[in-house]
């Protein structure tokens, strides 16, 4: 079972997890990213922009890599785009395997790599009317690189 999607609509994490529990699966790990209110509370909404076509290819590649690195029985990546308010879901990554370690590691890999290798950009619309683009975090590059053997593609 494999599912990769870029969409404006919300996703149903429970229904997605249920789809991953198939033959030979001993465990399903998942990560759900949620739009977090900024310190001080001034965030009205995020706007998520992406590169249509390229994004889907990048996510499919991450799923391929996870399925190569670990023995998975299933793999899901869903990323939302458009306007998202604090508390709303933004991203879902999940992996199923016979072995818990594989499911957990693959899920962490998917979300770490997605942060630096999929063409999404976030702008913050603040309650005071200000708007600004979120800057990339060096820590995310380091976390992604720590998995090793990642193509130098940024």
């Amino acid at each position: 079972m494999r599912l990769v999607a870029v969409q404006e609509e919300d996703f149903d994490a429970g229904a997605l997890l249920a789809r991953l529990g198939g033959e030979g699966t001993g465990g399903v790990a998942s990560f759900t990213g949620i739009v977090r209110q900024v310190a001080g509370g001034g965030l009205k909404a995020l706007r998520l922009e992406h590169y249509p076509g390229m994004t889907e290819k990048a996510l499919e590649r991450l799923a391929d890599e996870a399925q190569t690195r670990w023995e998975l029985t299933g793999c899901i990546i869903i990323h939302r785009v458009g306007r998202l308010e604090p508390g709303q879901n933004i991203v879902f990554a999940a992996a199923a395997s016979a072995h818990r370690g594989d499911a957990l590691a693959a899920t962490a890999y998917l979300i770490d790599q997605l942060k630096t290798r999929a063409p999404f950009w976030k702008a913050e619309d603040m309650a005071d009317g200000a708007t600004h683009w979120v800057e990339a975090r060096e820590a995310d590059d380091e976390t992604a690189a720590a998995w090793g053997q990642v193509p130098e593609d940024r």
Partner: protein
Amino acid sequence: MRVLYFAWLRERIGKSSEELELPEEVDTPRALINWLRTLGPGYAAAFSDEKPVRCAIDQEFQPLDAPLGRPKEIGFFPPVTGG
């Protein structure tokens, strides 16, 4: 060639994509950036600093000094911030 702009590059240039005929001597993304700067103040503002500019040639991330070749499209954008 189709050239696409994302995030604040798109905002400064004022469009998300355009078809451009490039001079023959433009053989890398960096050379393309230098040429784009001459097209107007929006371009000059978008590309005033190359450091935060990333690119993809035919939807694959590439360094700014990669050979340009004859792609169908090239995208310029800041470092990605998804997830």
